[in-house]
């Protein structure tokens, strides 16, 4: 085990994050990159903080997402630069987005449960697309007849949307904002009235 100058430590971590095609995790930094050196956890964190500072005002920023650290072109110039790349980012259908949202917010969930909420069948092709994108994975089987697979989102899903954890997903719409609240209230009222009536009929 050899020690490492602060400068060299920063260089190694910075270079590794640059060279890595997917976000680089702290664990990988410590257990693979720096395995031959004596470096404390705090030293690694300090180095990362310093790298982050260096790039604060440059064209790229160091960001932390679910599976680790990566450099990203800053938002302010991203659209200018996107002209260089002919390929347009794929647009996703509502079916895919709704299915993905259900898996993200209600995981683990079975395909059947997704179908129940959406009121339409979910094609195998759609699930396959999400699996192939590495956005979802099977995390087990539900102990009901047929043992359907339980689906959950992956770290890659979070990375793709620049999220650190599921807790950073946008809040779900509060029920009070639902367009159906009025109807629900009316139903509740009519029920109570009905039940009063019912009791009255019964007592008669």
């Amino acid at each position: 085990m050899t020690s490492l100058s602060k400068q060299k430590l920063i260089k190694l971590i910075e270079g590794a994050i640059f060279a890595s095609s997917s976000p680089l995790s702290l664990m990988k930094i410590k257990q693979q990159l720096l395995v031959e050196y004596t470096v404390s956890h705090q030293q690694v964190l300090n180095a990362i903080a310093e790298i982050s500072l260096v790039y604060k005002d440059r064209a790229i920023n160091l960001v932390e997402v679910a599976s680790g650290y990566r450099f990203q072109v800053v938002d302010s110039i991203a659209s200018d630069i996107a002209v260089l790349f002919q390929e347009k980012a794929p647009k996703y259908s509502r079916a895919i987005l709704e299915t993905l949202a259900l898996i993200a917010y209600r995981q683990p969930i079975t395909r059947g449960e997704i179908e129940d909420v959406r009121g339409v069948s979910v094609s195998s092709h759609l699930i396959k697309t999400l699996l192939e994108r590495d956005w979802i994975k099977e995390v087990g089987h539900k102990e009901v007849p047929g043992r359907p697979a339980l689906l959950a989102t992956t770290k890659e899903f979070l990375d793709y949307f620049s999220l650190k954890s599921l807790a950073q997903l946008p809040q779900l719409m509060p029920l009070s904002e639902s367009s159906l609240t009025d109807i629900e209230m009316q139903l509740a009222n009519s029920e109570s009235e009905e039940s009063t009536q019912k009791r009255e009929t019964e007592t008669k």
Binding site: F18, A19, A101, L169, E194
Partner: protein, 280 residues
């Protein structure tokens, strides 16, 4: 009686219109195609458009409730059923699977209506208002529908941000990470081969000494590396006296085997002279 109550509720409901007007409706891409559907009526030629625009019967119902104030509390059952049956006929030619889903919704609506029309006394205690279940499903769907729209708005790789792509210098050899093999895997692999082949081969397999075979490789290796003297090496040089008698015998057997297979040649230029060996 129920009808009367419900009608009262409907009147009260008009106060909620303002709220409904404010709801975001941008998601309706096919709005232009659906001309004032006062109920569940869909113009037949707009059917395909609607199938693409709405994510299913729940989505369609949500739209109708919000946009057209279609009242699920007072369902116009007869026309709905008629219209739905008509669509289902049409849908059969387009997307049968979807048709089935819309048909299920029509059935649910019809069931709700029929239950509401039944005399109250027949409603049992534990029975939930069927409309409540439908509203619950619609709300659950609505939540997810907006969650999906929000998900779509999140900054997204490729579309909203770019990731940095840096190469390592080209001359850096990637350390190849080789597969691990356990010695016992090797043994079991060979046993499999032998099991497979012994049925027809066991008569031909002669007893072979592993050490002889190893020695054959070793001798060939020595001869290959020996390029002086036209590749010839002295016969004696192939033996290692320190291996003792067994070693000498094994080397000799190996040489005989190699000679038999014409892998080496032995040359003795004169009687009792020096024997030279080389790879042939």
């Amino acid at each position: 009686m129920i009808q009367h109550l419900l009608n009262n509720k409907m009147n009260k409901k008009s106060s909620g219109e303002m709220h409904q007007q404010q709801l975001p409706l941008a998601f309706i891409r096919g709005e232009a195609y659906i001309n004032k559907p006062q109920d569940l009526f869909i113009p037949p030629d707009a059917l395909e458009v609607i199938l693409e625009t709405f994510e299913g019967p729940l989505d369609l119902l949500l739209y109708l409730i919000k946009k057209q104030k279609f009242d699920i509390l007072d369902l116009p059952i007869a026309p709905i059923t008629t219209q739905y049956m008509h669509y289902v006929e049409l849908m059969k030619n387009v997307k049968l699977e979807l048709a089935a889903e819309y048909l299920v919704m029509a059935a649910i609506l019809a069931e709700i209506k029929s239950r509401l029309l039944l005399p109250k006394l027949h409603i049992e205690d534990e029975e939930v208002d069927p409309r409540a279940e439908l509203v619950r499903r619609l709300q659950e769907y609505e939540v997810i529908k907006y969650a999906a729209l929000n998900l779509d708005k999140l900054p997204r790789m490729e579309r909203d941000f770019l990731c940095v792509n840096t190469n390592l210098p080209e001359n850096i050899p990637m350390r190849a990470n080789d597969s691990d093999v356990d010695l016992m895997e090797l043994v079991s692999a060979l046993q499999d081969v032998l099991k497979r082949t012994q049925a027809y081969e066991h008569h031909h397999i002669a007893k072979e000494s592993l050490s002889t075979r190893e020695r054959m490789s070793k001798i060939l290796n020595i001869l290959q590396q020996h390029t002086d003297n036209e590749g010839f090496i002295a016969f004696e040089a192939l033996f290692e006296p320190k291996e003792g008698r067994n070693g000498v015998v094994v080397t000799f057997l190996a040489l005989l085997e190699l000679l038999k297979d014409h892998l080496v040649e032995c040359i003795q230029t004169n009687g009792f002279g020096r024997i030279n060996v080389r790879a042939s």
